[in-house]
C-alpha cells in the first residue's frame, strides 16, 4: 500500500473531531437491507432480509448453498443446478455466493448490512484468521478473539493509505465455551456485545420492537419467532422463506443456515 500514489490516508479528521468517511460508511450501512440478531439462553439467531432488486433476477442463483451439501437423495435436481451453475460460473462466478449469512467456523456465523462485496472480503479474511488460530493452538477460535481480529482489519482500512473504510456492519453470532455470544462490528472497527441488535434500514423500529420483546430466558425457538416478527414489522411485501435468511447456532455449537422450507415452517407457526 505504500507503493501507490496514495500513501496518505483518505480518512481524515474534520475540525469537529469526527471522521467523516466513517460517518458516511455508517450511512451506507443504514441504507442496506435490515438484519438483526438475538441471543437466547441456549443459542443465537441472526436473520436478514433478502429482497431481490427486481423480478428479473435469477432466483436459482440466490438459492441456499447449504441445501446442496446434502444432495444424496436429489441427484437430478443437483444435476440441473450444476448445469445452471456451470453457465453462471464462467460469467458471473461472484454471483454464486449470494447467500447473505455466511459461516466463518463450525461454531461462528455472520450476517451484514451494507455493501455485499465489502462483506465478502471481510468474510475471507476472517476465515483465514480463524484457520490460522486453529493451526497454531489446535482449538477453535473463541468468538471474542475472531471479532477482535476482524475489527482490527476494519480499523486498518480507516488508517491506511489509499483505501476507504468498509461499508458494512457485521453481526457475528457464535457459541463457544463462554456460551452463546452476539457481537456487532462497525466500519470504524469498534465492536459491541449485544443481547439483541438490529442494523440497516428501519433500525430504530426494529430496536424498539426488540427491546419490548426481549427476555433474558428466551429459548432458541422463541428467539427465531421474535426475529421473524421483527423482520415482518418493516417488511414491504409478502414475507416468505424465499426473501429472508435465518442462521442459528444452538447448544450443539454447530452454526447452520435454515433452508427456505424450514423458514416457511417457522413462519406458519408465527401466524
Amino acid at each position: 500500500m505504500g507503493d501507490s500514489q496514495y500513501s496518505f490516508s483518505l480518512t481524515t479528521f474534520s475540525p469537529s473531531g469526527k471522521l467523516v468517511q466513517i460517518e458516511h460508511a455508517l450511512t451506507a450501512v443504514g441504507s442496506g437491507q435490515t438484519s438483526l440478531g438475538i441471543k437466547a439462553a441456549n443459542g443465537v439467531v441472526i436473520a436478514t432480509e433478502k429482497k431481490l432488486p427486481s423480478i428479473l433476477v435469477d432466483e436459482t442463483s440466490v438459492r441456499d448453498i447449504s441445501s446442496l451439501f446434502f444432495h444424496k437423495s436429489q441427484p437430478f435436481s443437483c444435476l440441473l443446478f450444476r448445469c445452471h451453475f456451470l453457465i453462471l460460473f464462467f460469467f458471473l462466478n461472484y454471483l454464486w455466493q449470494v447467500q447473505k449469512i455466511q459461516i466463518l467456523t463450525p461454531n461462528i456465523g455472520v450476517v451484514y448490512s451494507g455493501m455485499g462485496p465489502d462483506f465478502r472480503v471481510l468474510v475471507r479474511k476472517s476465515r483465514k484468521q480463524a484457520e490460522q488460530y486453529h493451526r497454531l493452538y489446535k482449538e477453535p477460535i473463541p468468538v471474542t478473539q475472531l471479532v477482535r481480529e476482524t475489527a482490527a482489519v476494519m480499523q486498518e482500512f480507516t488508517q491506511s493509505g489509499g483505501v476507504r473504510p468498509f461499508g458494512v456492519s457485521l453481526l457475528v453470532a457464535g457459541y463457544d465455551d463462554k456460551g452463546p455470544q452476539l457481537y456487532q462490528v462497525d466500519p470504524s472497527g469498534s465492536y459491541f456485545s449485544w443481547k439483541a441488535s438490529a442494523m440497516g434500514k428501519n433500525v430504530s423500529n426494529a430496536k424498539t420492537f426488540l427491546e419490548k420483546r426481549y427476555t433474558d430466558d428466551m429459548e432458541l425457538d422463541d428467539a427465531v419467532h421474535t426475529a421473524i416478527l421483527t423482520l415482518k414489522e418493516g417488511f414491504e411485501g409478502q414475507i416468505s422463506g424465499k426473501n429472508i435468511e435465518i442462521g442459528i447456532i444452538g447448544a450443539d455449537k454447530k452454526f447452520r443456515v435454515l433452508t427456505s422450507a424450514e423458514i416457511d415452517d417457522y413462519l406458519a407457526e408465527v401466524e
Binding site: L68, F69, K72, I103, R127, E131, R135
Partner: protein, 273 residues
C-alpha cells in the same frame, strides 16, 4: 601464484567451488552429514466401496525407536486422509498446512474437498522445495468423482494407482499386494489385505514396527481404526515385575564433622588502653 587472465563475473546457478574440497575431505574419511531417515511402511488400496489406508506405528531416530505408537495417518479433510513417510516433522507440517488450505477452500466454495485438490496443493509445495521437504505421502479419499488413491514423492512427482506402498518397508508390502490384490475387494477382505501388507513391513523391515493403523474411507463415511492390530505386545521377563535384593543392614550411625566449626563473635568491646 598465477592469476587467471580473464576474471569470470559471478553467475547464477550451482556454485562448484567447494566440490574439490569436499572430495578431498571424503577421501580422508570426513564424510558430509547424512539425512535422518525415518523408516515406515504405509499402504493404500482401492476397494469396491472406497479406499483403505494402512500404516505401521514406529518412529525411529537412526537406530533408536523414538516412538513406539505414533500416528502416521493424518487428517486432511472429512473425506480425505494422508499417510506420511519420511521425516516426521515434514509430513506433519505439510499435511497440516494443506488441511488448513482445504478447509478455507471448502468455506469459500461451499463444497466437499476433492482428492485431486489436495494432491495438487501437496505436489506444488513439495516441488517448490525441490525435495528438501522429505515427505513421501500416500493420499486417499472419496469425493464426488469417486475414490482416488495417489502417491506423492518428496520431489513432487505423483502416481495414481489402485494400490500403493511407500517407506522403507514398501517393498515388503508391495510383494503382498502384487500377489494378492484384485479388484472389487469387500471391506473385510480389504482390511485383511492391508493388515497383511503392513505386518509384512513390520516383521521384515527394521524401520517399521509396533502396531497397525487402518483407515477406511467410503462415500460419506470414514472409520479411523487406530491400533487395529497389535502384533507386538510388550512381554516382560517376569510377570511380577522387578524386585531388587536387600541392601546391607544398618547397625550404628555416627556422624563425624570433617572440619571444626569456627564461631566468630562480632561487635565485642574495643580494647582498653
Amino acid at each position: 601464484m598465477s592469476k587467471s587472465a580473464v576474471d569470470v563475473p559471478p553467475m547464477g546457478g550451482f556454485n562448484f567451488d567447494l566440490c574439490r574440497r569436499n572430495d578431498m575431505l571424503a577421501k580422508k574419511g570426513v564424510n558430509p552429514p547424512s539425512f535422518r531417515k525415518t523408516g515406515t511402511t504405509i499402504v493404500g488400496i482401492v476397494f469396491q466401496d472406497g479406499i483403505i489406508l494402512g500404516a505401521d506405528t514406529r518412529a525411529t531416530e537412526g537406530p533408536i525407536v523414538c516412538d513406539k505408537n505414533c500416528e502416521k495417518i493424518h487428517y486432511m479433510a472429512p473425506n480425505i486422509y494422508c499417510c506420511g513417510a519420511g521425516t516426521a516433522a515434514d509430513t506433519e507440517a505439510v499435511t497440516d498446512m494443506v488441511s488448513s488450505q482445504l478447509q478455507l477452500h471448502r468455506y469459500h466454495t461451499g463444497r466437499e474437498s476433492r482428492v485431486i485438490t489436495a494432491l495438487t496443493l501437496l505436489k506444488k509445495h513439495l516441488f517448490n522445495y525441490q525435495g528438501y521437504v522429505s515427505a513421501a505421502l500416500v493420499l486417499g479419499g472419496v469425493d464426488c468423482t469417486g475414490p482416488h488413491l495417489h502417491t506423492i514423492y518428496p520431489h513432487g512427482s505423483t502416481d495414481t494407482l489402485p494400490f500403493a506402498t511407500m517407506g522403507s518397508g514398501s517393498l515388503a508390502a508391495m510383494a503382498i499386494f502384487e500377489s494378492k490384490y484384485r479388484e472389487g475387494l469387500n471391506r473385510d477382505e480389504g482390511i485383511k489385505l492391508v493388515c497383511e501388507a503392513i505386518c509384512s513391513g513390520v516383521f521384515n523391515d527394521l524401520g517399521s514396527g509396533s502396531n497397525v493403523d487402518v483407515c477406511v474411507i467410503t462415500k460419506g463415511h470414514k472409520e479411523y481404526l487406530r491400533n487395529h492390530m497389535l502384533p507386538n505386545p510388550r512381554t516382560y521377563i517376569s510377570s511380577r515385575g522387578y524386585t531388587f535384593p536387600k541392601k546391607t543392614e544398618v547397625l550404628i550411625t555416627k556422624i563425624t564433622p570433617l572440619k571444626d566449626k569456627e564461631v566468630v563473635i562480632e561487635g565485642g568491646d574495643a580494647m582498653e588502653e
